[in-house]
């Protein structure tokens, strides 16, 4: 808008001569001068165009200036219109007050001093102009604000999409650390609503063992403004805990003051489990190496001593008593040999897959469990229909069956029957030929609610004993052989039976078309 857009000045007087003279006086202002001869004409003009200043004669025949002013002020549109009264009559202060009460803006007495009239009109004209400019500016601003708001909404919508589609859980906090926003992944994982976890209520999905330390570190960072990083478990909606690597960064304003924190939690459970499994397998490998060394060191003198006792047998210089002692010692030594053979050979692992007999592996494991079987009064029913020859690593297979058979024995603390079957079989899934080992016990069984979670890491029904990793690792090992582990637990008429079935293929996988033919 140009700095000087002319505004409309309305001059109201019943005498045309006066109007002309006002016109002449106000001409130099270069505003738009409008004339009205009567109150009625004045009102008409007011309704037609926007008037900045109304110049009016107080005493007009048809309508009194004050009355006109009243009428003008009645319209909300004209509440603020400047009205200047021109009065020939000397106005007392009382009259002026009356005028001001009606909202008159100013008075000019007759005779009119041109400079004075010009000055006053100019001031109100300028005021009006400025007000118009201001209003225009405001409208412009409002438009821009609306635009920006729309852009912001668009950008926020994009942010929301982004925040909700990243795989991490994300959240934002006020400077004091209380959370005011979570992304959708958080709610999906934890199964919570905002009400459940707003502010500091995120503590409820933390593992109690870790909560104290996590809170302490977080508060330290809130206070110091350092980036926060920590690793801890969070409870998912299924009640299980998973591990999350968590980070938060402070967001600062132009003055460097922290206005909020933006944080994420990244699920690293799989990586952590892989690390633990690796550590465990490395430990087993180290034990294997150690066992190999010990075995060798023990076996040498063991052989020598066994030979010495062999020589003492029926030695002529020994009397009956001495022969008896020698015999006892020889028997105990045989036990030592037996123990080292079983336990030290367990951890050894060959470098390449070698031909293995699953029957031997199972016998080995049964041997190791023989004491437990005896103590728990468990009877063994062995049904081996084949040697079960496969290519593999004896150590890890022993681990798998020790885990499964060990579990079966532990399920029968007060006696029962352990049936171990070994036969050639075909996979129900893909028709491959292979060997099937079944381990069945008549023990306490596996409740339905545990069935789904049995192969999960960290799931254990053994209370203090067991890491809960046994079945998870066993399944992993069998999967390496492209085999499978399944189980069934049933309770019928008072008897319970749980059966684990391990299938290890011996033949290569068949072509898809062959599988279809088998299924058809």
């Amino acid at each position: 808008m140009s700095s000087h857009e002319s505004v409309n000045i309305l001059m109201v007087d019943d005498q045309p001569g006066k109007l002309l003279s006002y016109e002449a006086i106000l001409g130099p202002l270069h505003e738009n001068l409008l004339k009205a001869n009567s109150g009625r004409e004045a009102l008409e003009q007011l309704l037609k165009v926007d008037i900045a200043v109304v110049l009016m004669d107080v005493s007009m025949p048809d309508i009194d200036g004050f009355q006109l002013a009243d009428m003008i002020r009645e319209h909300p549109r004209f509440q603020k219109t400047a009205i200047i009264f021109i009065s020939a009559v000397h106005l007392s202060d009382l009259d002026r007050i009356k005028g001001y009460e009606r909202g008159a803006v100013d008075y000019i007495s007759v005779p009119v001093i041109p400079e004075l009239l010009r000055a006053k009109v100019s001031v109100f004209a300028e005021l009006y102009r400025k007000t118009q400019q201001l209003e225009k500016l405001n409208r412009e601003l409002e438009r821009r604000v609306a635009e920006r708001t729309e852009e912001l909404r668009e950008s926020e919508s994009q942010f929301r999409s982004l925040a909700n589609s990243i795989p991490q859980l994300a959240w934002m906090t006020h400077p004091d650390g209380s959370i005011f926003w979570y992304n959708q992944r958080w709610y999906d994982y934890t199964g919570t609503t905002f009400e459940d976890v707003k502010g500091w209520a995120w503590k409820t999905v933390h593992h109690p063992d870790y909560l104290h330390e996590v809170t302490r570190k977080f508060q330290h960072c809130l206070a110091s403004g350092e980036a926060w990083e920590d690793t801890f478990p969070l409870r998912g909606k299924d009640g299980n805990y998973r591990w999350f690597l968590s980070r938060a960064l402070p967001i600062r304003d132009v003055n460097g003051k922290v206005v909020r924190w933006f944080g994420t939690n990244t699920d690293i459970t799989d990586r952590k489990l892989a690390e633990e499994a690796l550590v465990k397998s490395e430990r087993l490998a180290a034990m294997g190496r150690l066992a190999g060394i010990i075995a060798h060191e023990i076996n040498n003198p063991l052989e020598a001593i066994s030979n010495a006792f062999y020589l003492l047998r029926d030695h002529p210089s020994l009397d009956e008593e001495a022969r008896y002692y020698s015999k006892l010692a020889e028997e105990e030594l045989a036990r030592v040999a037996h123990i080292t053979k079983q336990t030290l050979s367990f951890y050894r692992e060959s470098q390449r897959p070698i031909p293995i007999s699953l029957a031997d592996v199972l016998d080995n494991v049964i041997e190791l469990q023989s004491r437990n079987l005896h103590v728990s009064s468990v009877t063994l029913d062995k049904r081996f229909q084949t040697q079960g020859k496969i290519q593999g690593y004896p150590g890890e297979l022993k681990q798998v069956f020790l885990n499964i058979i060990g579990n079966a024995v532990q399920a029968m603390p007060n006696g029962g029957r352990l049936r171990i079957g070994l036969r050639e079989s075909t996979s129900r899934k893909n028709g491959r030929r292979g060997i099937r080992v079944s381990v069945c016990d008549t023990g306490i069984g596996i409740p339905r609610e545990n069935a789904k979670r049995l192969f999960e890491p960290f799931f254990s029904t053994k209370e203090a004993k067991g890491t809960g990793l046994g079945l998870w690792i066993s399944r992993g090992i069998i999967q390496k052989y492209e085999g499978s582990i399944r189980f069934r637990s049933i309770a019928l008429a008072g008897t319970k039976a749980t059966c684990f079935s391990v299938f290890i293929p011996t033949a290569a996988a068949t072509e898809p078309t062959e599988i279809a033919a088998l299924v058809a």
């Binding site: 075995a295 076996n299 040498n300 066994s306 062999y310 020589l311 080292t340 050894r348």
Partner: protein, 126 residues
């Protein structure tokens, strides 16, 4: 037992085990010569008629399997048995006629020797 006693060369770098093994085999009815290394064993075999070589596997210098390889190369009809404290079959041990683990005991050793020599078990003298 008037027939010819089979001659066994027993090889081991450790003295006590070697002596005891020799005594066990003698009690079982064999004539036993001893060697403390693969080199000594090869010299013995070259110097007279031998029916079997029974060698420890882990020895300084020449291992039992190396000895077995050399023996088989020079005397293909001479049976070789490897005996060892390790529970696993060492690589290349299949060149020997049999592998015996020390942990199996003297009775098992005698059985294996008799089997390799194709002699009836009676010869064990037990």
């Amino acid at each position: 037992m008037g027939k010819h006693k089979a001659v066994i060369v027993c090889v081991d770098d450790e003295q006590n085990p070697l002596t005891l093994r020799k005594l066990v085999l003698q009690k079982a009815g064999y004539e036993v010569l001893t060697a403390n290394s693969g080199k000594e064993a090869l010299a013995l075999v070259a110097s007279r008629k031998v029916d079997l070589v029974l060698s420890d596997h882990l020895m300084p210098g020449m291992h039992g399997t190396e000895l077995a390889e050399q023996l088989k190369a020079e005397h293909p009809n001479l049976p070789v048995i490897l005996i060892s404290g390790v529970n696993d079959l060492p690589a290349g041990s299949t060149i020997a006629n049999a592998f015996v683990s020390k942990i199996e005991g003297p009775d098992a050793l005698c059985k294996e020797v008799a089997a390799v020599l194709n002699l009836p078990l009676d010869a064990c003298g037990n």
